[in-house]
Each structure stands twice: as C-alpha cells, then as structure tokens.
Amino acid sequence: MKNWMKKENLLWLGLIVLSYAVLNILISAGIINNVYKTVLMTIGINIILAISLNLIIGITGQFSLGHAGFMIIGAYSCGVMLKSFVSGVPGVFLGIIAGMVISAFVALVVAIPTLRLRGDYLAIATLGFGEIIRIVILNMKITNGAAGLILPKAVSWHMIFWAVVICTIVVVNFGRSAHGRACISVREDEIAAEAMGINTTQYKILAFVLGAMIASVAGALYAGAFYVIKPDMFTYSKSIDILVLVVFGGMGSITGSFISSTLVSLLNTVLQQFSSVRMIVYGLALVVIMVFRPSGLLGRKELTFSGLLKVLKKGKGAAQ
C-alpha cells in the first residue's frame, strides 16, 4: 500500500514538472503569446479561488457566499504593500503574508458567530460579511477608496503556477488528514459527527479560516498581475462566480475545480469575438451541466493516478 502511495505521488510530481516544462517550452516557442499568458494567469487565479472555496463548501459542507471578501483582503494587502512599502517580488511575498494574516483574523471573527448557523442562514450571513469587508475598504484612505489602486506588474505566471501547486497540495493534504476527515464527517451528517465526539464548530472554523487564507493568496496574486484593483470588482457577484466554478466542477472534487476553472476561462476566451452571445452561451453551458450532471462535472470524484492505474489494470485483466 505504501508503495502504491509513493508511486502515485511520484506520478503527480511528474505531472507538475511536466506541465511546467511544457508551458515553458510553449511560451518560449511563442505558441503561448502574451494573450494566452494572461488567460493562463486568470486560470491559475481562478483555480486557487475555486479550491479554496471547495475546501469550505465541498469538503466541509458549509455554504459561504462571502469569498470575494477574502480575495479583496489579499488584493489590497498586496496592493498597498506594492504601492506604499515594498515594490517588486518581495513586496508581493510580503503582501501575500500580510493578506493571509489579516484574512485569517477576519475569517475567525466572521466564523465564530456565523458558523453556528446552517445552510441558507450561513449563506446570507457570509454574504453580508463579504460586503462589509468591501465597504470598509471602499471608505479607507490608504486603499484610495472607490478609485482603487493602479499597480505595477509584479507577478509572473511562474509565481502563479507554483502558488497553484502549493495551494493544491495544502488543500488536498488537509482533506486527507484526520482534520479533513473530521470536516468531511461534518459535511455528511453534522449530528452524527457531533455524536461521535467531533467538535463540529471548531472544524468548520478551521476549514473556513484556511479557505479564507488561500483565497487571499489568489487576491494578492491578482493585484500583482492585473494592474488595477477596485472595490467594485469584488462584489458578491464575484463570490457567485467562484461558487459557479466550484459547483460546475463538482463540490468536493479538487480536480473538478481545476477542470471547471480551465474550461470556463477557455470558453470565455474562445467566445470573445461573439461578445453579444457570450453570456448566453455561458449561461446555457451552466444549465446543461446542471441538468445532465447535477453534482457538477466530477461530482465528488477525483481524477487520480491511482484511479487511472486501477482502470488500466482492470483493462489489462479483462484483456488477458
């Protein structure tokens, strides 16, 4: 069993290195030009956002609609850092750290009262908190209010790639740890979990804070990569966009979030020249997915090498 795990991990590592190498080659060969590079960065940031929300919604089963609130904290931490204190890549790193600390604190403040709520009530409460964070930033002096911040570019796609890798490893390993299994038990049946001696509120808070911190990383990277941040970019509709990515890919499936984030960004790029029908096609795609696959593209399943190996083995067995 141990060997299996090891092999699988090596395969994942291989996939990471391979995709990094392929992207590098494609970029240096000019096949991925500046346009696709921005698309690539959007995909990366969307993946981080989707997996961080997936941790809260998919793994722990808590319905949060305030995710953009944590993204904006990360974005402004990094933005203010770049603008007023340290520029360049060190500024981005400091901004990411500052964003994670602040959003962890805010998430804790939000989580302790609200995570005692369930379902719709929790959704509305988090939605409110997301807006509160945004309005606070809108009225602060250092954030330049409604005009937002105009920033130099400080984040390359390499940084985003490795951030995606790190965040994914954190989320996946959390999901498989004892804490993660406790979170899954909360998702499956809160009362049963409580009866088994799991402190449900504590695990809900843990997942919520971790998700918030990862979302703030995405926000910080966004600020460093996309020149302008304004409070009105992070309204609840941004939270809904993230939610759509999670539901589209499958709640609880990290690989599903990867696929959905990639597909949605690509769909958007492909449909660029048909601007008037773009949102209709996008909406239609969502309707079709929800009708035919109500649990999202992958449901709760993951695409894994162990699964792939099993399929291959089975196929081989059948052939013999």
Partner: protein
C-alpha cells in the same frame, strides 16, 4: 468506477471540443491577418465596454468611433476597425490589451471607464501602442504607478478635478455665490474627485463651505438630510454625482421649498434627469459638461447630422468624445505618414486638434487643455452654455 470513467470521458470530450474550438479560432485569425499585411490597411483598435455594467457608455463610444472610421474611409482612407468587448471587466481588459498589441494595430481608442483604461495602459505602453482614451477622467490615470506619464497614452477629456474647479469658478464669478453646501455621492471616485477640487477652488476664491454631506449610490430618500440643510445659511447647493440620485435630490429639495441655485457635474447629463426630477423643478440648475448641442459649432452640427443619419438617434457626449478620439488618431497617423508607433505617438503629442468637443492640445500629463462648458437648465431643457476655464495652478 463506471461513473468515474464516464465522468472522465465526458470531461475529456469537453476539453477536446474546447481545444478544437480554440484551434478553429486561431486558424480563422491567421488568413485575415495576412490579408491585411498584404494591402495598406491601417488597423485601429476599438476597445470598449459593449456588454456588462457600463455597456451604455461603451456602445455610444463604439458608434462614434465607427462613424469616424467610416467617414475617413469615404474620404479616401483605408482604415479597418478591430473591435473588442471587455464585458466592463478589468481582467478582460488586460487580456484584450495584450490581444490588441498582438494584432498590430496602429492605435487604440478606448476603453470608456477609468478603471478598465488604467488596467490596459501599462501593457499598451510597453508594446508601444498609442492609446487615445475618450473618457478616462480619473485624476492621474495617465500616469504610471511611479508618477511618470505613460508615453503612449493620451486622453481627450478633462480630469474630474478640473470640472469641479470650473464649477467653483462659475459659482463665484458668474452666479456670485459665496456659501455652498456640498451633497456628494460617496461611492464613486468621480464624485469624490469633484468634491475635493470644488472645495479647494471655492475656498481659494473666498467662498465658504457651509456643510458637506454624503449619500450612497442607490439611495432614494434624501428628505432627512435636506431638512437639515434647509435651516442652514447658504446660497447654493452642489451635488457632484450621477443623475439617478441627483434627479431625486433635486425633486425632493424643490418640493421642500429649497429654491436656491443647484449646481452639478456631467453626471447630470441624461434624459433621465427630467424624468426623475420633473421638468418644472429643473430651473436654476447648472452643470458642467464637455459636450452640449446648445449653440453647436458647424463641425458639431455636421457630426450630429451624420450620426443621426447613420444610427437614427441623438449622439451623446460619449459618442462625440469617441468620434473626436478616433479622428485625432486618424489625423495623427496621416500626419505621421506611417503607422510606425513612435511617429504616430509624437504626431499625437504635438497635435493641435480641432474637434466637435472643442479645440485643444495636450499638456505634459497628456490631458487636453480645453475649457469646460457650464449648461443652464430651463424647465429641464438646456438653455444656455458658457465656456469656463478655471484658474488652477
């Protein structure tokens, strides 16, 4: 296991479909690209908010810009428009800026809003693509994060602050007022910029700010604040903001018996203002704008006629600004005699442009030096327009 396999297959199928579509997209791009490099067509990028929140502005500007290109082609030019829609989304605007730089356009007009414009400037400046912004009015938007002007970025509208200062000048000089109450929208940078500039200029000219109060976008009931104002000692009310709220404020103020002069900004410039405030309440109301059809010059009249003939509707300030931006770019390209980015850029920088929104040249921040128009409303209709140039340092 079976469902897992099915899921994997369907995901794979979708990915393949998407990549096929992407291939189809790029292959259809290539032939048109090679066609253009063969002939001498000059490509002009039009990058606007055609869908999403501020689609009104974007579409109005697109119409103005397309009209300018059409007229230039009729006059013997060979211009082709490359149109992109950024969905009123700054992330999308960044991608499109890279796309336009790739497309090899001679220059770009747009986007309409300051936020989206600011998101594109760095990329276009790095790629040496000249940008003319029709309506990016935010303070300092043509400067990069370290405060230097972007070499390739120009705008043809005045800054928010300039408009605020012009209104202060007009209030003191022409209306002879000295005591103002400011009632501003606190949710837009536009209104904040106006408030600051107005306050500064008004104080400089010896006026007193009696009170400054704020409302938020979407508010509909202003009675409590207006009641508070009513008992104060003031002679003019300044409302920097958009027509949605300003219309209701004017209506409620007039109904309450506040009959002093009300002054505002180009956010008032909409047909909806009459619907919201009621025509009879719109007397002694003045606002600053870059564009009015009152006392139109011959050039402006010709533009209005051409626009009506083309689209069967009245042009707005945004269409006029985009029309001017596009014409300015075309003139610069013709003057430069080539589409070489540096030649076009320096032609734009040194231009003396005579357009439908006024004559102007660029200052060192690539912002035009032109006067602001103050429009007087009589029963909701534009009665008179005066040009004002504030004495700002």
């Amino acid at each position: 296991m079976k469902t897992m396999k099915k899921a994997f297959m369907s995901a794979l199928a979708i990915m393949m479909a998407a990549s096929l579509a992407a291939c189809g997209d790029s292959s259809s791009d290539t032939p048109s690209g090679s066609d253009n490099s063969g002939s001498n067509t000059v490509k002009i990028g039009l990058h606007f908010e055609l869908t999403g929140e501020v689609a009104d502005y974007g579409n109005a500007e697109l119409k103005g810009a397309k009209l300018a290109i059409k007229q230039a082609n009729e006059a013997g030019g060979n211009y082709e428009e490359v149109i992109y829609d950024n969905k009123s989304d700054t992330t999308e605007a960044v991608t499109l800026a890279a796309q336009l730089a790739n497309d090899g356009v001679a220059g770009v007009v747009g986007p309409a809003t300051s936020g989206s414009s600011a998101a594109t400037y760095q990329i276009k400046n790095d790629a040496k693509v000249t940008v003319i912004s029709p309506s990016a009015t935010q303070i300092g938007v043509t400067l990069d994060p370290s405060g230097n002007v972007y070499n390739y970025v120009f705008r043809i509208c005045f800054e928010d602050s300039y408009q605020g200062a012009a209104m202060a000048q007009y209030a003191v000089d022409t209306l002879a007022k000295g005591k103002v109450i400011i009632y501003a929208d606190n949710s837009s940078d536009y209104a904040k910029g106006l408030t600051e500039a107005f306050t500064e200029q008004f104080k400089k000219l010896g006026g007193t700010i009696v009170a400054t109060d704020y409302y938020s976008k979407g508010d509909t009931d202003f009675n409590s604040v207006l009641t508070k104002f009513k008992d104060m000692d003031y002679d003019v009310l300044y409302i920097p903001g958009y027509y949605n709220e300003a219309g209701l404020i004017i209506k409620q103020a007039r109904e309450m018996g506040i009959d002093c002069e009300i002054i505002g900004s180009d956010g008032f410039d909409s047909e909806s203002l009459i619907d919201l405030a009621g025509a009879s309440n719109l007397n002694k109301v003045y606002y600053t704008t870059a564009y009015t059809t009152v006392g139109a010059s011959d050039a402006l009249q010709a533009f209005i006629d051409a626009y009506k003939a083309e689209y069967n509707e009245e042009p707005s300030m945004f269409s006029a600004l985009a029309y001017d931006s596009t014409n300015l770019l075309i003139q610069a390209i013709e003057k430069a005699g080539s589409t070489d980015s540096d030649a076009v850029r320096s032609a734009v920088e040194n231009i003396e442009f005579d357009g439908v929104t006024g004559s102007f040249s660029f200052d060192e921040t690539h912002t035009p030096i032109k006067s602001v128009l103050v429009v007087t409303l009589v029963d909701g209709v534009q009665g008179d327009a005066v040009a004002v140039s504030p004495d700002v340092d």
